[in-house]
């Protein structure tokens, strides 16, 4: 299994071991200091809720309600930990698996599924949530994110020392995206312009079925050095470490310190998408190894050891998760397909003669078909 790459934890920033013990780190302890039991409970709650949502969406796909679903299973610590480090001015450029980050940005979770039911390209207001629409083209958004960060700098939103004003961009992508030219180009621009951006790589060890060892010889974090971008390799299943590292990186970027590359080393516990069968390219032993390192179990163990995770709280969160599941199911089933001419609605912000002509033509084209059959 040489192709499966390093499992070694040695050079990973870790604050919680996989058995839930708090360990100290010389650089990042202070960025976790402010995270009290209450804050950790919120993280535990978010991780639990997003996992329930993820499972519900997987079921909905299996029941024919969604065309495809992209599971975030196993990556909750990387997403919730980093998401909790964001402030109001920060802007997120996700790829398509960042459901956990979406939750921290207040996106109404069922709305995410419109894309996966094939109804809309994106259903939330990116400006309101400071959370861009999902980008399905691998790595393409890294350039958009860098451009946005450069613009924030030019708009005077960086390095003023005023927390009401300063902000940064965080761009999420996977290990597979690091093989795309776009990502390297983005780092070139980010570095030379000292753009306020954090490149957050969730290295879940597979680009669909391609193991990371077939994509890089060196740990991905080492790539930053070539661009003179400071880089950190963090345990992606350690929510506390992910949080601390991201906080450091964002504070640095907001204050005008320039870009940071974070490699969160994690594991995609589910399939790439519901159309994928991971048993064809990884072993049960592998899956069992990573099941022991489940990011929620780790925080659960730590909070329990502190006596900070009461049964009441668990029950409340379980009810909340179940509620979200039911609401998601009902919402999705209640959606009607958009009319086929809706695709012309948002091509331009203002009326456009060509689009109008095409819409008119398309309406006539649709009328050339016999009446649609009625579905039960």
């Amino acid at each position: 299994m040489e192709a499966h790459g390093p499992r070694a934890d040695e050079d990973l920033v870790t604050l919680l071991t996989h058995t839930g013990e708090r360990v100290s780190h010389p650089d990042f302890d202070r960025y976790a200091e402010g995270v009290d039991a209450e804050a950790m409970r919120r993280m535990w709650r978010d991780m639990t809720v997003v996992r329930a949502f993820d499972n519900e969406a997987t079921s909905l796909q299996r029941q024919g309600e969604l065309g495809v679903w992209v599971q975030s299973l196993g990556q909750e610590a990387a997403q919730i930990g980093s998401g909790h480090a964001l402030t109001g001015n920060d802007f997120v450029f996700p790829s398509y698996r960042e459901h956990g980050v979406a939750l921290t940005r207040g996106v109404d979770m069922p709305e995410i599924l419109r894309i996966f039911r094939g109804l809309q390209h994106g259903a939330w207001d990116p400006e309101a949530h400071r959370f861009h629409l999902y980008t399905l083209v691998i790595g393409a958004h890294s350039l958009h994110a860098t451009g946005y960060a450069m613009a924030m700098d030019r708009d005077g939103m960086v390095g003023t020392g005023d927390p009401e004003r300063d902000g940064a961009v965080i761009c999420y992508f996977g290990d597979g995206a690091t093989s795309q030219g776009d990502v390297s180009e983005a780092m070139v621009f980010a570095a030379v312009n000292s753009a306020p951006i954090v490149f957050f790589v969730q290295n879940n060890q597979f680009a669909i079925s391609e193991p990371v060892a077939r994509q890089t010889r060196a740990p991905l974090a080492q790539r930053g050095a070539g661009f003179d971008i400071p880089s950190v390799r963090v345990d992606g299943n350690d929510v506390l470490a992910c949080h601390a590292v991201t906080r450091w990186a964002l504070e640095r970027a907001r204050s005008g310190g320039g870009p940071v590359l974070i490699e969160a080393f994690t594991y995609r516990m589910g399939a790439h998408t519901t159309a994928d069968d991971p048993t064809r390219y990884r072993t049960r032993a592998d899956e069992a190894y990573w099941a022991e390192r489940d990011p929620i179990a780790r925080l659960d163990a730590y909070l329990t050891s502190l006596g900070e995770l009461g049964e009441d709280f668990r029950a409340t969160v379980a009810a909340e998760a179940k509620d979200l599941g039911r609401r998601t199911r009902e919402t999705v089933r209640g959606w009607t397909s958009p009319t086929s001419t809706a695709m012309f609605d948002h091509v331009y912000a203002e009326p456009h003669a060509t689009v109008e002509a095409e819409r008119a033509w398309f309406e006539r084209y649709e009328r050339t078909f016999a009446a649609e059959e009625v579905h039960a």
Binding site: N55, E56, S59, Q61, R62, Q63, G64, E65, G67, V68, T273, T274, A275, D276, D277, T279, R280, R329, A353, T354, E356, A357, E358, A360, W361, R364, Y365, R367, T368, F369, A370, A371, E372, E373, V374, H375, A376
Partner: protein, 469 residues
């Protein structure tokens, strides 16, 4: 009342068309809840467990283990309101009957396709919906006969932006094409577009313009038809009237203004231009002139510039309002050109400063631009003296009308081999006619005559240019 819901085989991958049923995890009569394991299926990609979509009671399993089922086909029914009357076994059949009835009602009888299949295990309606474009997983192929097309009504469809749209939207044309249409006096709304998306192209405009030009009069239409597309027929079909537009209109105004404000006088001169023809031939062979066109017009232009240098008073204009004569310190040399837009007189700015090669280059550019209909507006204003080259049309000479604001115009006629007395003998020589019209308000006959004589002198003996240059 029992409420029956049907579960259809989902597409568990992306673009799959069928799946095998491996194991049922429930049996009819079982009470089930949402997301409990329902069955296992095997697709072209993987073994997948399908969770139960409903809370309720399993009514019927519609496919057996081992069956291959089309995506979209019903595989199980559930009573989601088991508190009501006990569900009958024929519930799904009743469901399908409703579907079939609705389909029949929706399709106009005349165009009814082969009546909807009496829905057996697989409902084509649902298949068609799920399959959409018929997309299929790369590498797995489409199951034979699985492709479904939506039923079409009769009737062809116009292209986008076709006739039906014409009135609803402004004409689509790029700015240069709009300008061309304006210059040619073509109304864009009357042009049939041939470009993508109903775009009017340059060719469309040119074609429309041609249809509007007198050159298309070769065949006479029926008497009540106008000869020109832009015109209309009157007098019982005995004439065609065309609104005066664009260049034609401006030409008319300029000519009237010029002819009836400036008293024209024209003087003529016949010249032996054999030496000019020899010079043209030599220059054509000269490497320094390899990149430009050398023509007799170039020499006559140079000759006129030399004449103006000796008689600058000819390069002037009459300012009627100020009651002043304006002598120009520069020569913007106009060359009358017949262009697709009509008669234009673009001019070469500061032509008096140009050496012969540069003059040739500018003449070439001016001619090319005029021919391509790309004459810039700036070269149509500010002329000071002009040449009209009537020779290429085979005409000996004429009495040209002055370009408004100028006081002289030279007509350059055809150059022909003619018997000519040369050094005391009759020889075959290259001979041409030169005519100069001038504004008699400020140019006396003598001045006009001297200018024309000087032009003739240089044409007869280009070496005179060395003396005057």
């Amino acid at each position: 009342m029992p409420t029956i819901e049907t579960f259809h085989m989902p597409d568990a991958g992306e673009g799959l068309t069928e799946a095998d049923i491996v194991t049922w995890r429930v049996a009819p009569g079982d009470t089930v809840e949402v997301n409990q394991p329902l069955l296992e299926i095997e697709t072209a990609k993987s073994l997948v467990e399908l969770p139960c979509p409903y809370d309720g009671v399993v009514v019927a399993l519609l496919a057996a283990e081992g069956d291959t089922v089309d995506v979209g086909a019903p595989i199980a029914t559930f009573d989601v309101d088991p508190g009501g009357e006990a569900p009958a076994d024929d519930a799904p059949v009743a469901q399908d009957a409703v579907v079939a009835e609705a389909v029949v009602a929706e399709v106009p009888v005349a165009q009814a396709p082969a009546a909807p299949e009496p829905a057996p295990a697989s409902s084509p309606a649902k298949v068609a919906e799920t399959e959409g474009s018929g997309a299929v997983l790369v590498g797995y192929g489409v199951k034979a006969g699985s492709a479904q097309r939506r039923e079409r009504r009769d009737g062809a469809l116009d292209p986008i932006g076709g006739a039906e749209d014409a009135s609803e939207y402004p004409v689509l044309a790029k700015p240069p094409v709009r300008k061309l249409a304006r210059d040619l006096g073509v109304d864009l709304t009357t042009v049939t577009p041939s470009g993508p998306g109903g775009l009017v192209t340059r060719e469309d405009v040119e074609q429309a313009s041609q249809a509007n030009s007198a050159r298309s009069l070769a065949t006479y239409a029926a008497d009540d038809q106008p000869w020109l597309e832009s015109g209309y027929s009157k007098d019982g079909g005995r004439s065609t009237r065309v609104p005066v537009r664009s260049v034609r209109k401006r030409t008319a105004e300029a000519m009237v203004k010029s002819a009836f404000t400036a008293p024209h006088v024209t003087v003529f001169h016949t010249a032996d231009v054999t030496e000019t023809m020899t010079l043209v031939k030599r220059l054509k062979a000269d490497r320094e002139f390899a990149d430009v066109r050398v023509t007799p017009l170039l020499i006559v232009a140079k000759a006129l510039l030399l004449a103006v240098r000796r008689h600058p008073e000819i390069n002037a204009s009459w300012d009627d309002e100020a009651q002043e004569i304006v002598y120009k310190h520069f020569v913007n040399l106009g060359i009358a050109a017949s262009t697709p837009r009509g008669l234009l007189v673009p001019n070469i700015k500061d032509a008096h400063r140009l050496p012969l090669h540069a003059l040739a280059a500018q003449l070439g550019e001016l001619t090319a631009l005029a021919r391509e209909n790309r004459t810039p507006p700036t070269s149509l204003t500010g002329g000071t003296i002009s040449i009209t080259n009537v020779g290429p049309l085979g005409i000996d000479t004429g009495t040209p009308i002055l370009n408004p604001g100028e006081s002289a115009i030279l007509a350059f006629g055809a150059i022909r081999e003619q018997p000519w007395v040369h050094e005391g003998e009759i020889k075959v020589r290259w001979v041409t006619q030169l005519a100069l019209s001038f504004d008699h308000r400020l140019v006396d006959g003598e001045l006009g005559a001297r200018v024309l004589a000087d032009v003739g002198r240089v044409m007869s003996d280009p070496s005179q240019g060395l003396v005057w240059g």
